[in-house]
């Protein structure tokens, strides 16, 4: 081969390569800045989530994107979202925390939310892998004929148990329990919890006096302490279930529900529960636990981040060492078993607007970004901060922290915004070294204990029932914790009140749905 021929071939190869590479370059061209409207609940206002700190810039500059951030509160998020979606005016990207399949189906049928292209899983594999971990993606796609939502995986790589259950546990004043001679255990039955409350009430080891609130949390969390702990059919995800004959039943109408309510009412009437728990807003009950130190028991997320937050709060507000004074435990039914409905590995979903999906370049850039956020590299920065600044790899490959504190403490943009872009923080929380190892281990222990105690009392997810939709089903507007609390607070005889409530609920809302579901799925 002559030199001339060699160079001709080389030139041809270079030109061919350039020709092939050209579309890819154009595809990866991120010179144009794209701005996206992004709505999340609970994010503080007044923060520049695009470039407010190095943490935000690390992500936005890589993809040359900007956020036009819409911050809602948890109280009004869903209302506003429904109005936007129904008026065809939803933001480009929305974190929706109360995923409702029926609503999604309605939106999908009407083209009000974006449908991802059929080949999205091949094009964005990291996102697809995380999506697959939820276990519900296929179920939803099968019913809708495409991907219209990206459910947030609670756990991606570090799921502690399967089937999954909720993380809520009891946070209890260990020092008071020890002072009263109460045995410290990993799980307590509801009856034992009530006994503990009675003992603390009698002995008042914290010298709190008249302000002592024994079991203290708001209505929604109180359900975890009583009805949910006592009867799996009371869980909103488990209210419709198949009995041993394959017939579909409604949990709140079962005798077990009445028994659970009787215990709940007894605790209230005995003064073991904050007498005004129904007026408490989110966190107010927990605040009495770690701010004023007037509560003996509260319910909280059994996550390392919450234990760490409580540690800081106890130290700051009460000058107490969390590890010395707080104990976390699983609440079980009277039979010592953990009662629950299986929790699918997702919480809420990410929705994209149809306008965004149609705008190919903007859509693809956002999907590139979401795909990257599911990589290990991005997760490390999301959860730990910037490499070389907040952490680094040690010689043995382990992670070495360079600064103290959590990422939310170091970067204001991380608060309730970046951390839950897609994969939820629960996953990395199991291994996140910014939280004390003991807390992370405790989280896993509690999950494993629930698993162990709930082998035959955790209702498995039945997707046909959970994702069943019809006009009659959509008209059921019960907020179950509110219904249970209203029943036990009502004057008169509980059984009579419950019977009247069940009768009205069945006649008006529930029986038509049971009939429809039994016709479709009953006896199978």
């Amino acid at each position: 081969m002559t030199i001339q021929r060699f160079f001709s071939c080389l030139l041809a190869a270079v030109m061919l390569t350039a020709l092939c590479a050209a579309p890819a370059s154009a595809q990866d061209d991120r010179s144009e800045t794209f701005t996206y409207t992004w709505c999340t609940p609970g994010s503080p206002d007044g923060i520049d989530y695009t470039a407010g700190d190095d943490y935000a810039r690390f992500f936005t500059e890589q993809f040359n994107i900007q956020w036009d951030k819409i911050n809602t509160t948890f109280d009004n998020h869903l209302e506003r979202l429904r109005i936007w979606i129904n008026s065809g005016d939803m933001p480009d990207l929305v974190n929706e925390w109360t995923f409702n399949f029926s609503e999604l189906q309605s939106y999908a049928e009407q083209g009000l939310v974006g449908r991802l292209p059929d080949d999205w899983k091949e094009r964005w594999p990291n996102l697809a892998n995380a999506y697959a971990r939820t276990g519900v993606g296929d179920q939803i796609e099968e019913r809708l004929g495409g991907t219209y939502a990206l459910p947030h995986p609670i756990f991606a790589d570090h799921q502690p148990v399967e089937p999954l259950v909720w993380h809520y546990v009891a946070f209890m004043r260990k020092d008071w329990m020890e002072a009263c001679g109460i045995e410290i255990k990993d799980s307590y039955t509801v009856a034992e919890i009530m006994d503990i409350a009675r003992t603390i009430k009698e002995q008042d080891p914290g010298n709190v006096g008249a302000n002592l609130k024994l079991i203290n949390t708001h209505v929604a969390y109180m359900a975890y302490m009583f009805p949910y702990a006592l009867y799996e059919g009371s869980w909103p995800d488990g209210v419709f279930f198949k009995d041993e004959n394959g017939q579909i039943q409604w949990g709140p109408a079962q005798p077990e529900m009445l028994e659970a309510l009787k215990v709940y009412q007894q605790a209230y009437r005995e003064g073991l529960i904050n007498p005004e728990f129904y007026t408490l807003k989110t966190n107010e009950g927990a605040e009495d636990f770690y701010t004023t130190g007037q509560s003996a028991i509260t319910i909280e997320c059994g996550m390392a981040v919450f234990m760490d937050r409580y540690r800081a709060d106890f130290e700051q507000n009460l000058g107490l060492d969390y590890d010395e004074v707080v104990h976390t435990a699983v609440i079980t039914g009277m039979d010592g078993k953990y009662h629950s409905a299986e929790l699918a590995n997702y919480s809420g979903a990410l929705l994209l607007s149809p306008q965004l999906v149609e705008d190919t370049e903007r859509f693809e850039r956002l999907m590139d970004f979401l795909d990257y956020m599911c990589t290990e590299e991005a997760q490390l920065v999301l959860r730990l901060g910037l490499e070389g600044v907040d952490w680094q790899y040690a010689e043995d490959g382990s992670i070495e922290l360079l600064t103290s504190g959590t990422v939310s403490e170091k970067y204001e943009t991380a608060q309730r915004c970046w951390s839950n872009v897609y994969v939820l923080s629960d996953d990395f929380g199991i291994i996140n070294p910014t939280y004390p190892e003991a807390y992370r281990e405790r989280v896993v222990e509690l999950y494993e204990l629930k698993h162990e105690l709930g082998t035959d009392t955790v209702l498995p997810a039945d997707w046909d029932l959970r994702f069943y939709t019809s006009p009659a089903r959509d008209r059921i507007s019960f907020v179950y914790p509110d219904e249970y609390a209203a029943l036990i607070l009502k004057d008169g005889d509980l059984e009579e009140n419950w019977n009247a409530w069940v009768e009205e609920a069945l006649n008006t809302y529930i029986q038509p749905v049971l009939d429809e579901m039994n016709e479709l799925y009953g006896g199978k």
Partner: protein, 315 residues
């Protein structure tokens, strides 16, 4: 012949009206913004009422959504909670007419009798100020005041009594609504009566004084009769909103313990609209029902006022 004349008059009238409008075009131009506002924001959206008879599909819009006849009402009227909310709304708001409505009138009469202008202004400002607080703030204050550990119970306990559960007591809920509403709104509502009082001819008071009328007699025989047309109009207006008053207040002051006495029609509409997958047809059916009842009550109150020899809203 007379029929021909009437017909020709009938045809001439619009021309006369058009001529009159043209002649006074400057004045009518001033009317335009208000007219446009009403058309765009008051009458235009009334087309949305058709949703009560439709299965609303956002992608098809209000006009394109399919008609379903009375189907939404079939569901509404079958719901016992709906009927309970209707009666509860009537009951609460009738109480408002009895207990709340007279308060601004009484307050305006008292303020009018004050003889120290500066003191009167200070009091008026104090009474008017709560109107500018939102119900979110007022309810937070009330919850702090009335909770078991709140100010009121602390005083009760310090006097040797035992704490009373105001916030979770179904009997106390309705009086609490009236008291908070009077505290918040009486001062503001009194302004309109004070304005009416200020228009009364002072000669009447002077003549009564010369005749030896006491202050109470002057109030009863001069002030009250003079402001009665205003009171009547306000009464009719309040009757016209009897099915829809007070959502903010009830939403913020209620809780699950008093749900049986606090789910008014507005709260019911909120629940079915925002605590379940949205069904705008269903929600609109309830809203339309409420509006129709309000309208009927408004007309009845107007006719009633006229039958009793008073003035009404409509000619």
């Amino acid at each position: 012949m007379s029929q021909v004349l009437q017909t020709s008059k009938h045809f001439q009238r619009p021309r006369g009206l058009a001529a009159a409008i043209y002649k006074n075009r400057a004045v009518y131009t001033l009317l335009l913004p208000g007219l446009i506002w009403y058309l765009v924001f008051a009458y235009g959206p009334m087309g949305g009422l058709s949703l009560a008879f439709k299965d609303y599909r956002a992608n098809l819009g209000i006009w394109g959504s399919p008609w379903v006849g009375m189907q939404n009402y079939h569901y509404v009227f079958r719901d016992a909670a709906f009927w309970r909310s209707v009666w509860r709304t009537l009951f609460i708001n009738l109480g408002r007419l009895i207990f709340e409505f007279p308060m601004p009138v009484i307050l305006s009469l008292i303020l009018n009798e004050l003889r120290m202008p500066r003191y009167k202004k200070v009091l008026q400002t104090i009474f008017t100020f709560p109107h500018f607080l939102s119900w979110v703030i007022v309810s937070s204050v009330m919850i702090n005041f009335l909770s078991v550990e709140g100010l009121v119970n602390s005083i009760v306990k310090s006097l040797g009594g035992s704490a009373f559960n105001f916030l979770g007591n179904t009997t106390a809920f309705q009086p609490m609504l009236y008291i908070t509403s009077i505290w918040k709104s009486a001062g503001w509502s009194a302004i309109i009566y004070l304005a009416a009082i200020s228009g009364i001819d002072m000669d009447q008071y002077e003549a009564a004084q010369i005749d030896g009328a006491s202050r109470l007699q002057r109030i009863a025989h001069i002030t009250l009769p003079n402001i009665m047309p205003t009171v009547t109009v306000m009464f009719i207006l309040q009757t016209g909103s009897i099915m829809s008053a007070g959502f903010d207040q009830i939403f913020n002051l209620s809780n699950v313990a008093v749900r049986d006495v606090s789910e008014t029609l507005d709260m019911y509409i909120y629940r079915i609209t925002f605590q379940a997958p949205p069904d705008f047809g269903f929600s609109m059916a309830v809203s339309l029902f409420r509006s129709v009842i309000n309208m009927v009550l408004l007309v009845l109150a107007d006719r009633g006022a006229k039958l009793m020899g008073g003035s009404g809203l409509f000619a």
